[in-house]
């Protein structure tokens, strides 16, 4: 277990290193010149050169990357070109909003997805099952920005149940979480359904039925806890999907998280911020995958860590 963890940690670090290298190289090749953006249109060539030297952007690629890495080790992600503040600070100040959205989204997808999957499995083969499975397909096929805009239109503009955008109260959280959650709910519903169907086939369920336990007791006491675990274990992997959607959903709802930060930075070629958010997202994804793998053998002892 310890050696396994050690090896996985080193692997994860290498992956993060690779992600940083690729992102850095991509941004280095960027045709848009960040210095022009900072200096403004009216800047003289001299000023532009000065700023370039100040930021160290006149150095060769390897030098720039090495400098970035050495700072990164001490948690320093550099300074934003435009916002004149530390990227680490910016990200840390935006992170709580994104984490809150993530919690909301996961709650939504579990609540929706698990109950849909459970009902579908119990009513397997009926019209209810079919309808729920079609619904889960619709969920995974719906583009998040369309879902977001439609939810906004119906529940914020028309019904005014929720605010149109922004951040602050629990009311602000509902629509963005739901938007993110609908996609995940589709996956969870399908996984939960097949996991539950597997469990309901097991001998211990038959035994429970044979000794005359009530249907409800069999479902909730015997089947559900066993069926739900492998599905819950997927949350780690889900983080990757979440990180993908965050840019879109945060920009639709004006949610002040790292997705919005990244989107603004991309439009203004604010390279340190783009790098920072990409690294933080990659870190979250790697961590999520690691968690999913480490938890797996606890949930299913047949799985051996290699």
């Amino acid at each position: 277990m310890i050696t396994y963890l050690g090896r996985r940690l080193i692997q994860s670090l290498l992956i993060l290193l690779g992600v940083s290298l690729i992102t850095f190289a991509l941004l280095y090749l960027l045709p848009a010149d960040p210095v022009r953006q900072i200096a403004g249109r009216s800047a003289t060539p001299q000023t532009v050169e000065n700023i370039r030297q100040q930021l160290g952007l006149d150095q060769p690629f390897i030098v720039q990357y090495w400098r970035y890495l050495t700072k990164l080790v001490s948690g320093d992600l550099g300074r934003s070109y435009i916002q004149r503040s530390e990227v680490t600070e910016l990200i840390v100040s935006r992170l709580p909003a994104s984490l809150l959205l993530m919690v909301g989204a996961i709650l939504c997808e579990l609540l929706l997805g698990l109950s849909m999957g459970l009902i579908a499995a119990v009513k397997r083969g009926t019209a209810t099952d079919q309808t729920l499975m079609v619904a889960s397909f619709v969920g995974v096929s719906a583009p998040q920005f369309v879902v977001g805009l439609l939810l906004l239109y119906v529940f914020a503009v028309r019904l005014s149940w929720f605010p149109i955008g922004g951040y602050g109260t629990w009311r602000h959280l509902v629509l963005p979480s739901l938007t993110m959650g609908i996609l995940g709910a589709g996956w969870y519903a399908r996984m939960m359904r097949s996991s539950m169907i597997d469990v309901l086939r097991q001998d211990y369920v038959r035994t429970a039925r044979a000794k005359g336990l009530a249907r409800r007791a069999i479902l909730f006491r015997h089947a559900l806890p066993n069926a739900i675990l492998p599905v819950i274990a997927m949350i780690g992997i889900d983080i990757g999907i979440f990180m993908g959607g965050i840019v879109v959903v945060e920009s639709v709802f004006g949610w002040p998280g790292i997705g919005q930060l990244a989107w603004q930075a991309i439009q203004r070629v604010d390279i340190p911020i783009i790098m920072g958010v990409t690294l933080v997202s990659a870190f979250a994804i790697v961590l999520g995958n690691l968690l999913a793998d480490v938890i797996a053998p606890f949930i299913d002892p047949r799985i051996k860590l290699r």
Partner: protein, 302 residues
Amino acid sequence: MTSPIAPDLTAPGRMPVKPRAGVWRRLVRRRLALLGLVIVAIVVAGAVLAPWLTGYDPNEQMFDGLTIEGSPLPPDAKFWLGTDLLGRDLLTRILYGARTSLIIGIVANGVALFIGTLVGVTAGYFRGWIGSALMRFTDLMMAFPALLLAICLAAVFEPSLWIVAMVIALVNWVQTARVIYTETSSLAEREFIDAERTIGASAPRILFRHILPHLLPTIIVWGTLGISTTVLLEATLSFLGIGVQPPTASWGNIIFENQTYFQAAPWLVFFPGAAILALALAFNLIGDALRDILDPTQRGRA
């Protein structure tokens, strides 16, 4: 590590490829798959026949396409789905937008499938340091937030239809590579492949005559499901304004252009949004049915 949807196509004891003759018949017998096929047929017909289906030009800004105050028109007898902010016929733009979605869906997904298969087969069959290098690279790509990477890439290049297709392909090959890799490496250890090697068959012969035909069902399933992902990604990039650029119509950029007005004119989001959803749903339904049909170990499960 595969995503939660990743079908387990590599279960041990998997049957070899079944005769393919019955696949189509079995596909159309499933109601949901049939629905998917019908939607795809409608979208393809709409895209191909666009100039004959509508009397308008997709980029023509019509005088009577706006109200006197200059706002877009709701759906009526003249403009069936209404008009957009610039007074263009929305139905016409959606029909032409179908071309964009289909072209990107086919090209980007085709390239992604090709890269994924190439990487997966190479790594799975030849192993060695090339194999592990390729798979480590794939792991690395899995850690990239796909959309963020696509956004960075799209921002790096001047966006055009083909660039957007390439960006999507560069992001989307990873899943395919993983699945093909696991499947190829288990195939490569089977006796019949060993036997081929013993009688002196060359690597290309083994790959093309024996490995690829066995991978075909997987490639078909992932190819179909992948179109759905591709369509969604293109729509998202175009919605952010870094995908297909106006005036070329794309379902995503129709929403991008009109979103400021969506509270007053929700049809400008609703109709293109429904089109994206329908096409993505269709390919998901077909892909899922194909998975059931082509992969016996999965039948009756998810």
